[in-house]
């Protein structure tokens, strides 16, 4: 066996290489010292609300400084992009090494609640942060599964709306924003011409796709889960809803096929802001639009259209209850300080300042007295949120649902962009595969 010594050596090296490749484990976090009150340093992971991480740091830093001045508690801020946030939270949860507080997309509440990663907001905690009775009921409902104590408090509330370019509408002779999808498609065709499209979509972004799939299927009377929490993806209503959305590109040809590769969550907004598309279905786009140089006077905001003019019942849904929650990690060593920070974040003043900066809606009712929240745009969004928005399914597999459904739509958009037909069968096949993957996960 002498001759095989080098071979064995190579094998050992190879094994080592493989091992390093296979044992993937992301994890980063920073511990923080004990004690509470002055001198403590909290670590806070904020989500990207301002269109860029630099913008978020700029908005949040003065608020955090005010908090430090008032309490002596320092806050170490890290803004995390949407593509990484959930993974970072998962890594922090599994390693036990995480921040003290984190922003989450409210649709993940039930999923993250299932992990037990977050401190439940009991009635006592609610009193401690001065939150009892102040939160908007819809926003508060999206903080966990029904019947269990919430695992966070809402800090920014949002809803989807139709953003439209006023000048382009005028040039095409359209007087009013569309209220039904038939009108929407007809207007979209009028608005589509050389170098300009009727609507821009973020076709490869999974959460965005999942939100639209949810709303469109709701309007068809569909549902992705039955009452016992079992997935029911491949229903005719869901197929119809998703096909209707993908058809903006596939059949109606009012969306640029290039949108099928838009994945970072800003490209569709940028196209709308720079005059490449006349309409956009988005949540709280103002801050991002301003960043790309679009003035509020240049665009209008209207509710998302319906299938019929005045639907009623459970299909009267034109948005998800969108928003951001603030949660405390259950294994924080600075619980008291963390709750003080939470109290600060939901206070009237901070809510007013931050939601103004992010063009989102305050989640506490007393902040609406500020004139910034009395504009037409805010009133439109607020009315959607309080009357026709529905919360995403509050099931433990919600975050997986967003990924698998978002992927199904991404594949369908890719088909449409590549000239392959999108049919009821191809939509159903994608939904079927998505459901199998989801069930495999649980």
């Amino acid at each position: 066996m002498r001759a095989s010594r080098p071979a064995l050596l190579t094998l050992a090296v190879a094994t080592a290489l493989l091992a390093s490749a296979c044992s993937s484990s992301g994890g980063s976090g920073s511990g923080s010292g004990g004690g509470s009150g002055a001198g403590t340093t909290l670590t806070y992971w904020a989500s990207d609300q301002g269109g860029s991480i630099a913008q978020d740091v700029k908005v949040l830093t003065p608020e955090l400084n005010a908090f430090t001045k008032a309490t002596g508690i320092k806050v170490k801020l890290e803004v995390i992009g949407w593509n990484d946030l959930l993974n970072r939270i998962l890594a922090a949860t599994s390693s036990g090494q995480g921040p003290d507080l984190v922003n989450i997309g409210n649709t993940w509440s039930a999923s993250l609640q299932a992990t037990g990663a977050f401190l439940p907001i009991s009635d006592d905690v609610m009193k401690q942060i001065d939150g009892t009775g102040r939160f908007l009921p819809g926003a508060l409902a999206a903080t966990g599964a029904p019947g269990q104590p919430p695992v966070g408090v809402p800090i920014y509330s949002m809803s989807y709306a139709l953003y439209y370019n006023k000048a382009m509408f005028q040039a095409a002779g359209i007087a009013q924003p569309p209220t039904t999808w038939d009108e929407f498609v007809a207007d979209g065709k009028k608005l589509t011409k050389s170098g300009q499209w009727g609507v821009s979509v973020e076709g490869a972004q999974t959460p965005e796709n999942a939100h639209h799939a949810f709303t469109f299927s709701k309007q068809q009377g569909g549902s992705f889960y039955d009452s016992s929490g079992k997935p029911t993806f491949d229903t005719p209503q869901n197929v119809a809803g998703i096909k209707q959305y993908v058809d903006f590109m596939a059949a109606d040809k009012i969306a640029n096929p290039s949108d099928a590769e838009y994945s970072n969550g800003t490209e569709a907004v940028k196209d709308f802001a720079t005059g490449k598309a006349a309409m956009l279905l988005w949540q709280s786009a103002d801050a991002t639009l301003a960043q790309y140089g679009m003035q509020p006077s240049q665009y209008g905001v209207a509710p998302v259209p319906f299938n019929a003019a005045q639907p009623s019942g459970p299909s009267h849904v034109d948005s998800i209850v969108a928003g951001i929650n603030l949660s405390v990690f259950a294994n924080t060593k600075n619980k008291d300080a963390a709750l003080k920070f939470m109290k600060f974040m939901v206070s009237k003043q901070t809510q007013t300042d931050l939601n103004k900066a992010y063009s989102s809606l305050p989640s506490v009712s007393d902040a609406y007295t500020d004139p910034a929240f009395q504009t037409d745009t805010v009133k439109t969004l607020q009315s959607v949120l309080s009357t026709t928005a529905a919360p995403m399914p509050a099931v433990a597999t919600e975050s997986q649902f967003e990924t698998v459904i978002g992927t199904a739509l991404k594949n369908l958009f890719a088909d449409a962009a590549g000239g392959k037909p999108v049919t009821d069968q191809s939509v159903a096949a994608q939904l079927d595969q998505a459901q199998q993957q989801l069930q495999a996960g649980g």
Binding site: S23, N83, N256, S258, A414, G418, Q436, Q437, L438
Partner: protein, 318 residues
């Protein structure tokens, strides 16, 4: 390492000195062994342990509480009638094709460039350094640059192909659909070939010049010299090079992830991303680990067979 037979020592002090002398190499090895355990063996064993657990979102805070899964995760990954198994098998074939093409092209480019750079000429050093730039760039920077270039409306690739050369009527997609495989391949080859170039260049330095002189006297042409001297002399270098390139590319995660984001197009779904999706997108770390273990076993098997074959051939050649 055979134990040398030694007579029983008469003197205890001399005995102790021998133990110390014999023990020293092991003592010196100890830090390396400890780090090897820490960095490679322990995570690998943890991965194997996880693959026998139902480790889902309900248990990631407390792994110990996850129920035992037996062989469930493996059965599940290898059930090619189910959605996950079918996808895994499909991504396995895509990964095989991707790896073979990447290794082949990288080797060809690297060897070709190294042979061309063998004879001294003005600017050789500069050119050699220039060739190594893709290898020196961080993976993320390189892949994100390619991502920009492959974008349909604003990318450099389509500007060249469609606007300047008029090769296509409508701009093709590179990051979605069937072309995504080629985009991935191009990026990977671009990133990998400088390494092949570097290794082969180093190997060429060891070939004695008189071999070429003798061949030239015998009237051998350039092509004959490459075939009869360069390639046989590079055999041992190539053996390791091809193996390392294979392992790197089969496991490559950075390139597809940076190019396509968390959800790759089905046509370019490499197995490492598939495993990542199972673990992190579907929150099923147990079956993700089972897939990793299967991948490890497959690569070990390929490596063992490869080394057996190449060594046997090497001996029969000699």
């Amino acid at each position: 390492m055979a134990e040398p037979r030694t007579p029983v020592a008469a003197h205890p002090a001399r005995n102790w000195a021998r133990v110390r002398r014999a023990g020293l190499p092991y003592l010196l090895l100890l830090p390396a062994v400890v780090f090897e355990l820490l960095v490679h063996v322990v995570p690998m064993l943890t991965g194997i342990y996880m693959s026998f657990k139902h480790l889902t979102e309900f248990f990631i805070r407390n792994w110990g509480a996850a129920p035992a899964a037996g062989w469930d995760n493996y059965r599940f990954a290898l059930d090619f009638n189910g959605a996950i198994g079918r996808q895994l098998l499909q991504s396995f074939w895509i990964t095989c094709a991707f790896t073979v093409l990447t290794v082949g092209l990288s080797w060809l480019l690297g060897t070709g460039a190294a042979v061309l750079m063998q004879d001294p000429f003005r600017g050789r050093g500069l050119l050699r350094t220039y060739f190594l730039v893709p290898y020196a760039l961080p993976a993320y920077t390189a892949a994100i640059t390619w991502e920009f270039m492959f974008q349909r409306d604003t990318g450099l690739v389509n500007t060249l192909l469609v606007h300047d050369l008029h090769l296509f009527k409508t701009a093709p997609f590179w990051l979605i659909g069937g072309n995504s495989f080629w985009a991935l391949l191009i990026t990977a080859v671009w990133r990998t070939w400088p390494f092949a170039f570097l290794v082969v260049t180093a190997g060429l330095q060891n070939i004695p010049g008189d071999l070429y002189e003798a061949a030239a006297l015998d009237g051998a042409g350039t092509w004959q010299r490459i075939r009869s001297i360069t390639l046989p002399q590079l055999r041992s270098v190539n053996q390791v090079l091809v193996l390392v390139l294979f392992l790197w590319n089969f496991n490559d995660f950075n390139t597809p992830f940076t190019l396509f984001g968390n959800v790759p197009p089905p046509q370019a779904n490499l197995i490492s991303v598939q495993i990542y999706d199972t673990s992190f997108q579907n929150w099923n770390f147990g079956s993700g680990s089972a897939m990793s273990v299967l991948l490890l076993l497959f690569l070990l098997l390929v490596t063992a067979v490869y080394l057996l074959l190449t060594n046997r051939r090497g001996k029969s050649d000699a």
